[in-house]
Symmetry: C2
Subunit: 391 residues, 2 copies
């Protein structure tokens, strides 16, 4: 086990009707005037936005708003938000939505107190020293951004999708999490979220750092819970308990807990980021295609952890099989699971009939360097093979 710092100071307020506490929470964390950042029409149609505004009004917190944040959020909205905050004397960012909305709010949060271009943080030129406080009312369990110090933004010019990681500066002060708000999520989007949270665990679980049994067992427990509850939410979208377990798992998958003490991987996320930046596919659906392909490739040289996953999570009985055979059986079961919740497992199923693999590989290593990954180091020759395994 490696030395680590685990610092997840976010106050998670979880359960039915908790959005009514939003105003008090903003006040508790020092907010006097909030910028409400939100996405499409569902937050408006469902009445959630009005309930949040009422809660702010009741608590005596003033607010402005910025709606229309899209999936794979882009830098232009961050610049717009920074301008709004500076123009209106705003001291708190309230994200009402999922990962795209939260990540946009985080971009604004680090951009406002910085004199230069906020993109400097995302492309690694500068380290975030200070940021505005962010609060969250979560509507989509997937990205885990409500409990992480991370943010992913796409630069429109050149379609560069980059992620920023901070230890604590961008961790939300609070996250309001009402599972009922996810009842209306369509099955496809629900499944995308499930794949995404599982991938957040995979990126931390597939590691060569020895001696991380505690972290492994927690990760395996979460994966097992997610897969069991996933079937329930797909079959019964109004199952409160199942929605609640999925929502809470999503946070624990990405607040750092599953990475404690070890080198993480993140190659699959990087490989997927190119897919969604170039072809604008849903991140979760992209990951359903990438994860099994990545696993299939890495077990050729390093099967051990994939085999452990196969046995402990996917229920593969080892018997007389080799580690690699066990791993391969686990991957097949994972693909079946993804298919069973309506997810694609090939680029064709993802709607990318003729992928430009040369461009994907070139952009991937241009953005992320060479090699990428931790569990197996991947050069362009490797990632080309992985993209081909998705065909």
């Amino acid at each position: 086990m490696n030395n680590f710092t685990f610092w997840s100071p976010t106050k998670f307020v979880f359960g039915r009707d908790t959005e009514s506490l939003t105003g008090d929470l903003v006040k508790q964390f020092g907010g006097k005037k909030a910028l409400i950042v939100y996405g499409g029409g569902s937050v408006v149609r469902s009445g959630l936005l009005d309930r949040v505004k009422k809660s702010l009004d009741d608590a005596g917190v003033a607010w402005e708003e910025m709606g229309g944040i899209c999936p794979n959020p882009t830098d232009d909205r961050v610049y717009e938000g920074i301008g709004l905050v500076r123009a209106h004397g705003i001291d708190f960012l309230l994200a009402v939505g999922g990962g795209s909305v939260i990540d946009t709010a985080k971009g604004i949060a680090c951009g406002v107190p910085y004199e230069g271009d906020f993109w400097d943080f995302y492309c690694g030129k500068k380290v975030v020293a200070t940021a505005m406080p962010v609060g969250v009312v979560l509507t989509i369990p997937a990205a885990g951004s409500e409990g992480s110090g991370n943010s992913v933004i796409t630069k429109k010019d050149g379609l560069i999708k980059l992620s920023l990681r901070t230890e604590s500066a961008l961790r939300p002060r609070f996250a309001v999490m009402n599972p009922e708000l996810t009842f209306t999520l369509p099955p496809y989007q629900t499944a995308c979220g499930i794949v995404d949270m599982m991938a957040h665990i995979f990126e931390r679980y597939f590691s060569n750092t020895p001696g991380c049994e505690t972290t492994d067992r927690v990760a395996e427990g979460l994966l097992t819970a997610i897969m069991g509850e996933a079937r329930k939410v797909i079959d019964s979208p109004l199952d409160y308990e199942a929605r609640a377990n999925i929502m809470w798992s999503s946070t624990l998958a990405h607040n750092g807990l599953c990475g404690t003490g070890r080198v993480e991987d993140w190659a699959s996320h990087f490989i997927e980021h190119e897919l969604s930046a170039i072809y604008d596919v849903a991140h979760g659906a992209g990951l359903a295609v990438v994860n099994p392909a990545w696993m299939t490739y890495v077990v050729r040289t390093n099967p051990s952890k994939v085999a452990q996953f196969a046995v402990r999570v996917m229920g593969v009985v080892p018997g007389e099989k080799s580690e690699r055979e066990i791993a391969v059986e686990g991957i097949a079961r994972l693909k079946s699971f993804y298919r069973s919740i309506g997810m694609p497992v090939t680029l064709g199923e993802l709607g990318i009939a003729e992928p430009d693999i040369d461009r994907l590989v070139a952009k991937l290593h241009e953005h992320k360097g060479n090699p990428i990954g931790g569990y197996v180091k991947l050069t362009p020759a490797d990632t080309e093979q992985i993209y081909k395994l998705m065909l």
Copy 2:
């Protein structure tokens, strides 16, 4: 799943040599003059106390000290600490040790800003509104106090052992956790810690609240990790990885994670507190006797969750067995495990040859009310039976 708030803002700094960061951490959290609270000679003999003092000196943090805190810590030392803090202009409490030391520091932390008697908080007369900041350098993985908002203090007059729970006021600002500091823990004390952390999970796991699959799986994962690593640390006290996994599990067992979304129990802890208050036995050893007796009693009326534990953690194969038979087999395996790490499972083995069960039952319900517990409500008639099951 019930509504819940999970707020674990402590910064955990984990790994080799991390005690050298103590001074910087005290400074990061605003401390200018610390009271170092510690226990017996091992902290002194090992040189840890000197290293911590040097770290404070290097960071420009002034300090005073108060040593000699004993297991089952008592109110007199809390009053002494409150006096020291007030006399010396101290603004930060630094606990260097295990649960007894941390809990004493927490007692001081809530007592200093309060005009009345700090005991008011422990006996439930007052709610902690504000407290001094506490930091921890952990040397014994057991109590989980480094990540909890709780504290247990025994009033010398009458041997009343009471626990105080706060949502966040008494959560340490940081916890420095170097597994190497636990290399010299004797096997008995190591085993006591292991039983204690498992019990912290049991108190949260044995619950009738439905729909907590995520929390269940995390709890089961931690229990599995602890039991596997426990054998290693007992056999090889210098096994860094095993010590590290035990130490980290101990924190996660008690920072609230395993209780998210459900009614907790805590009857076993209350039942044990009377044993250690009256007979001054080690808390963990007492729990090794109490936990199986409690389980044996509750499965008579409510076997389901004990059966789940038996299957998922203790490896019982259900076959054609009834839930109760499965549960009973799981309890037998748990007892074997406790015995295998040198723990007692009867009051006789604990060194209490002639327990005064009437007095234990009377004191228990005098302190904790009637009934106690959540998974099964226990009246004095029930707890008498449980104490008898320990004979």
